[in-house]
């Protein structure tokens, strides 16, 4: 693992932005340009991304995966897979790419990065990671995380994640992300130093927390329903697809048995022998063709899975909105009640029940001085509250505006990607049919010559 010598002229400039993603900062830096992140199936080649952050084009590759053993936090030995991330900058003039950074990361570090992004960019639909454990398996695929096919598909998924982040107009400018790609040692400490875990609102993750929000933005409510539907339908589709794949595998493989039997039979046949023998060969070809076909389909399934996980990211943004709205409504409610109290004290009318009021009734009125003091405190609180409410309102509106901008961006990306995925599925099916026609035409010829 060699690092390319750092040419001072070519050194990448980190973006002059705060690592902590303030909505304001994000807004200012937002670029409307959409990066083209085309994904190659299975080849693992990185693709070009346009990236203002880097000030020049870069390529990101997750080029290798390696089994490692080490000691975990409990000082127990563990085996894990590490992934090599290579970053290259591309010269405009000659199109040559130069390796600028290369380091190894494991899945848990990716998770850490993503969790950080979720906290600091709650208004962004943060790209998801590939699945932690293999799901929607059909019988051939192993559910083992160490299985080479799984590791390979995960490698592609991780690369895709990085490309998504790097091509996001806001996320790409994040310093922690930059360091993830460039600073191997100490990165974890740097992330933790941001204190993002403390900033994280546990209520966002709490599944059972329901916010009695009176006036959520309708669009977010609809979006939440949409994301539920998306998740449900894609899960269903993936499950059925896995079963279909399993059955298709069976059909192809059983034909392979013909090959062996035909071959044995051909030994006793004089006229039919040749035809049988060669037909049998074609049956073998047919049977073995399914392996590649289904491997390609796995990549298609991964593309759908990404959007399955994106549904979760969408939901997270909706929840953040609900949370903010809830806090806003609570604050407004609190302010209103304080104002009411104040008014009552000032005018002497008691419309609302208060313990203090009760006790004064029972134990005697308070002095005018006491009352004055209380009014004063309340007035201060009210003033503070009004300020807070104003800023919360502003925050809320900013959030909605920014979030909705990103959601629109996401929708376009999703439509484009899913359409491409469906087209690529059709292409796969066409290829499978053509192979089938080829094999059976050959077999038919052999049979007819028997």
């Amino acid at each position: 693992m060699e690092q390319a010598p750092r040419d001072p002229e070519r050194q990448l400039q980190p973006a002059p932005l705060e690592p902590l993603g303030h909505p304001d900062a994000g807004l200012q830096a937002a670029v409307s340009e959409e990066a083209e992140g085309a994904r190659d199936e299975g080849s693992g080649e990185g693709t070009m991304t346009e990236n203002n952050f880097w000030l020049k084009k870069i390529e990101i590759n997750v080029s290798e995966a390696e089994k490692r053993t080490g000691r975990n936090a409990m000082n127990m030995q563990e085996t894990y897979t590490a992934y090599l991330i290579e970053t290259r900058s591309v010269e405009h003039t000659d199109g040559q790419s130069v390796l600028t950074d290369s380091l190894w990361r494991r899945y848990s570090e990716f998770e850490l990065l993503r969790n950080y992004l979720l906290v600091y960019y709650p208004h962004i639909v943060v790209p998801p990671l590939p699945e932690k454990r293999a799901e929607f398996v059909w019988h051939k695929l192993s559910a083992d995380n160490m299985d080479p096919d799984f590791v390979e598909r995960r490698r592609i998924g991780l690369e895709n994640f990085l490309l998504r982040v790097a091509s996001h107009p806001i996320l790409c400018r994040d310093k922690i992300f930059y360091l993830f790609l460039t600073q191997e040692g100490n990165w974890k400490e740097t992330v933790n130093e941001t204190g993002f875990q403390l900033k994280a609102d546990s209520r966002l993750k709490a599944l059972n927390a329901t916010f009695r929000v009176k006036n959520p933005d309708k669009r977010f409510t609809e979006l939440k329903h949409y994301s539920d539907e998306l998740q449900s339908v894609i899960s269903h589709l993936l499950r059925v697809r896995a079963r279909v794949a399993d059955r298709l595998y069976g059909v192809y493989k059983v034909h392979g048995n013909y090959g062996r039997v035909f071959s044995e039979w051909s030994a006793i046949e004089k006229e039919m022998g040749d035809g049988l023998q060669s037909a049998g060969h074609h049956m073998d070809v047919y049977a073995s063709s399914i392996d590649d076909i289904l491997e390609d389909e796995e990549h298609y399934a991964d593309q759908l899975k990404e959007y399955l996980f994106y549904a979760e990211a969408l939901r997270a943004v909706c929840r953040k909105h609900e949370l903010m709205q809830y806090d806003l409504e609570m604050a407004a409610q609190d302010l209103a009640s304080k104002k009411q109290q104040c008014e009552e004290l000032a005018t002497g009318t008691v419309r609302t029940f208060s313990l203090k009021g009760m006790t004064t009734k029972l134990f005697g009125q308070e002095t005018p001085e006491q009352r004055e003091a209380r009014i004063k405190v309340l007035e201060e609180q009210i003033s503070e509250g009004e300020q807070q409410l104003k800023s919360k309102n502003l925050e809320g509106r900013e959030f909605v505006k920014n979030a909705w901008a990103d959601i629109e961006r996401f929708k376009e990306q999703k439509n484009h990607d899913l359409k491409e995925a469906l087209i690529s599925y059709a292409v796969m099916q066409i290829s499978m049919c053509k192979k089938g026609i080829q094999v059976w035409t050959n077999a038919k010829e052999c049979f007819s010559k028997m």
Binding site: V251, G256, E264, G275, I423, I430
Partner: protein
């Protein structure tokens, strides 16, 4: 590949290589036992190239069998018999057409059984009419087969469908079973009709034309069950002996049929398993398309694409169903018939061995016991004739059977390949048209969005 080596050895030496193993092959997908063929039979199609030279028309008398004489045709000199047995079936002269249909259930106090309607159309003079309609049950078919075997022990009698399928049968007479049986019975009768010798068998004629009571009384003639059983016990003992002195060509025949039987059984299992897998694939596919339609309900911009995919998947599902029915109409019954046929042929070989053994034992008796030499010599003379007839009959029928087998197998597998090609062509067409519609739209959209990106 090992198979190739075996094949080339076999063809050069003329002997089958002994590489066939008896144990089940190590297949990737374990084979299941036959769960009852849901097979349909097609009308028999003879596909012969060669012209026959000596089609002998046999008179009625020849088909009246003397139970003790096993000669299948007019008993004259062995030479003329050799000539007589060399013939091919002539499709142009087919003058007997048989259909089996209309299964009907009959319930009596003792039993429930099914009868089938048999319609015979013929232009033959020896038939009183040109059309006959009778009803027969499976037992009657069994009787007919038995009679044919008795009359022609070394001819290859067509197989009957199995009495019952043990595995996978809930009730004795479900619709699939009956339909499969009906087609197999039709095939059975047509095979007999197309056989140059069996077609003139008297019992066959009675079977096709007699009314129920006539058939019952006809059945009662002939040796009883007991005598037939007695023969069987003796036959087993004899056949052991017959194997040792079996002539070379019959050794070859025997080796062939043993290996063939193994292989055709395997092919039968494989084919049944393919049908089962395709059925399960088709069942899953039925669910696959509709999910895309469901999804399209929540995606405004992807409605076309999703519905397009759904349509393709549904079409492919239909194409799979068609492929399956093709399999069950052509390949499965053809292969299964040859599974049963191979058993028949092995039976015929045994019977030939028995006949030979009878002769051999008499010859042996002659060399050891000096008593009754004259009688023995006379008996031996008759037996020698018998053996020669039997051998010639078998040889001729073997060639005919093998020829038919090759054609039938070839045609069945060619059909299967054709079905598969058709299936993939259909699927290809539907996906290509989807792709075309998507890329057209795509091009339209992209040119709308970014007019300056050229």
């Amino acid at each position: 590949m090992e198979g190739e080596r075996l094949a080339s050895q076999a063809r050069s030496s003329g002997l089958p290589a002994g590489g066939a193993t008896a144990e089940s092959p190590g297949v990737d997908a374990p084979l299941l036992g036959s769960s009852g063929s849901s097979a349909l039979l097609q009308a028999e199609v003879l596909d012969l190239d060669e012209d026959e030279d000596d089609l002998e028309v046999f008179s009625k008398d020849a088909s009246l069998m003397d139970m003790n004489s096993f000669s299948p045709m007019m008993p004259t000199s062995p030479l003329s018999m050799i000539n007589q047995v060399k013939f091919e079936d002539e499709p142009d002269l087919k003058d007997l057409f048989i259909t089996v249909d209309e299964p009907e259930s009959h319930v009596t106090t003792i039993e429930t059984f099914i009868t089938y309607r048999i319609i015979t159309k013929t232009s033959r003079g020896e038939f009183d009419s040109s059309e006959f309609e009778v009803r027969r049950r499976y037992q009657d078919f069994l009787w007919l087969k038995g009679k044919l075997e008795e009359a022609h022990p070394t001819l290859i009698i067509p197989p009957l469908p199995e009495k019952f399928i043990v595995k996978g049968m809930v009730e004795r007479f479900n619709d699939d079973f009956i339909e499969t049986r009906r087609k197999a019975l039709q095939k059975f009768l047509n095979r007999i009709a197309d056989h140059p010798t069996l077609t003139f068998n008297e019992d066959f004629k009675v079977f096709l034309t007699a009314q129920a009571w006539e058939l019952s009384s006809h059945k009662k003639q002939g040796p009883g069950l007991l005598s037939r059983m007695g023969q069987t016990v003796r036959a087993v003992a004899l056949s052991m002996r017959g194997v040792k002195s079996r002539p070379e060509e019959f050794m070859e025949m025997n080796n062939f049929i043993e290996i063939f039987s193994q292989k055709i059984n395997l092919i039968d299992k494989i084919s049944q398993r393919i049908y089962k897998e395709e059925r399960e694939y088709s069942d899953e596919m039925k669910e696959y398309g509709p999910i895309h339609v469901l999804w399209s309900a929540s995606e405004e911009d992807l409605v076309d694409s999703l519905r397009g995919v759904a349509r393709c998947l549904d079409q492919c599902c239909k194409a799979t169903e068609k492929r399956m029915s093709g399999l069950s109409e052509a390949l499965l019954p053809a292969v299964h018939e040859y599974v049963l046929y191979s058993e028949m042929v092995m039976g015929v070989m045994k019977r030939r061995d028995q006949i030979q053994a009878e002769l051999d034992s008499k010859v042996e008796a002659l060399t050891y016991k000096k008593a009754d030499t004259d009688l023995l010599i006379e008996e031996i003379g008759k037996l020698e004739d018998k053996v020669e007839c039997a051998n010639n009959a078998l040889k001729a029928d073997w060639e005919r059977w093998k020829h038919n087998m090759q054609n039938d197998i070839k045609s069945a597998f060619t059909d299967m390949a054709e079905e598969n090609i058709h299936y993939y062509e259909q699927c290809l067409a539907t996906w290509e048209s989807f792709l075309a519609s998507q890329t057209d739209l795509h091009m339209e959209e992209t040119s709308e969005d970014k007019p300056e990106s050229h």
